[in-house]
């Protein structure tokens, strides 16, 4: 993947930030871009600043929607035009319907985490389609970070619901007294299955975004006039679907670990 320039080069402090990271951290493993061993860390600084940009955009939009919500008389009847409030309402409706189908009755306490993740991932994916911007989910660091968040979250809720039963469910999923003899076989497999979940979530998201951007660049380099148009459509579709898949898998993992004793 080449080092392509973006709008972030126009920021005044960008060159000094790049120089600082390259001089001090260029041999460290953590700051490498992740896929190609010869690449240094220019890409990583892009993605941190891009993530900051996404957060700033989301904060501004949310404040606008909140200001409109405060005027209660005006928003009792939803307006027929496309306003910022209507977009957020559609989004929240979709996320809540996904959560209600998978988690069941107790879904309200998980809405903040899943909703925030969904908003962040959706806007990050969509921003990469605009020429000149970089999506933060293009990088493995961001997406595995989101996966680790989900991992910590469903583990916390598993321990909250079942106590130490969260771990004994892994060793003895069936709950019988003779299941304990099979526990040395079950426990490694279930532990590996549990710990691979954040990695698979992160790699799925990053891989889809990287592949999508590569295809877009390849066809835009071939003929920039009209040829990339179906690939932009594909990019929109992939961004949306990957957000839905991420949130659905998060809800499935939460529901797996917080369902009350059903046997």
């Amino acid at each position: 993947m080449d080092h392509h320039s973006s709008w972030f080069h126009l920021l005044p402090f960008y060159d000094r930030l790049l120089g600082f990271f390259q001089n001090n951290f260029s041999e460290s493993v953590i700051f490498r871009s992740g896929l190609f061993p010869k690449e240094r860390i220019f890409e990583t600084v892009h993605h941190i600043i891009a993530a900051l940009l996404v957060v700033i955009i989301l904060a501004i939009l949310s404040l606008m929607a909140n200001a409109r919500l405060k005027q209660i008389e005006k928003c009792l009847v939803p307006s027929p035009k496309i306003t910022i409030l209507n977009i957020f309402e559609v989004f929240v409706q979709v996320v809540i319907s996904i959560m209600k189908d998978t988690i069941g009755a107790d879904y309200r306490r998980y809405v903040p985490m899943v909703g925030t993740l969904a908003l962040f991932i959706l806007v990050s994916n969509l921003i990469g389609l605009i020429p000149g911007f970089i999506s933060p989910t293009n990088n493995l660091n961001t997406t595995i970070g989101c996966g680790l968040l989900v991992f910590i979250y469903f583990n916390i809720h598993g321990f909250r619901t079942h106590g130490i039963g969260h771990l004994t469910h892994l060793a003895n999923p069936m709950g019988t007294w003779w299941g304990w003899f099979l526990a040395p076989l079950f426990l490694p497999i279930e532990l590996i299955g549990l710990c691979v979940r954040p990695l698979s979530l992160g790699i799925r998201l990053a891989g889809n975004m990287i592949g999508d951007h590569k295809v877009l660049f390849a066809f835009a380099g071939l003929m920039p006039f009209l040829l990339p148009l179906p690939f932009y459509f594909l990019g929109l579709l992939v961004s949306l679907i990957q957000t839905v898949v991420f949130c659905l898998l998060t809800c499935v993992y939460i529901s797996l670990h917080t369902q009350e004793d059903s046997h």
């Binding site: 061993p37 790699i203 891989g207 889809n208 990287i210 592949g211 679907i241 898949v245």
Partner: protein, 110 residues
């Protein structure tokens, strides 16, 4: 018959042959410093080829059963569509894992 032999398309074929010969000679002498350069290329192509083949089979089966369900009951198409998309994305994620390996391997050629 002489007109067939001097067909203009055959001249294009002759031109392509010489271009391919030149590029092959250039590729042969431009071996990279890594002695396993050729193996990485073959491995990357086989990886992504097999992954695309298996992924297409799996997604084809998913789409086939979704379409059959819609054909039996056209009113349920909204309820069938979302699980179909979800299933396809999960099948595709395995193909994406193999694509990343192919990217890593093709990065080693450089």
């Amino acid at each position: 018959m002489i007109k067939n032999l001097c067909n203009l398309n055959m001249l294009w074929g002759v031109l392509y042959f010489f271009i391919a010969k030149a590029s092959l000679a250039e590729a042969l002498e431009n071996a990279s410093s890594n002695p396993n350069f050729g193996w990485y290329a073959i491995a990357a192509s086989i990886a992504i080829g097999l992954a695309a083949f298996g992924g297409a089979l799996g997604q084809g089966k998913a789409a086939a059963s979704a379409l059959e369900g819609i054909a039996r009951n056209p009113q349920a198409s909204g309820k069938i569509f979302v699980p179909m998309i979800l299933g396809m994305a999960l099948i595709e994620s395995l193909v994406i894992f193999s694509l990343l390996i192919a990217f890593i391997l093709s990065g080693k050629i450089i």
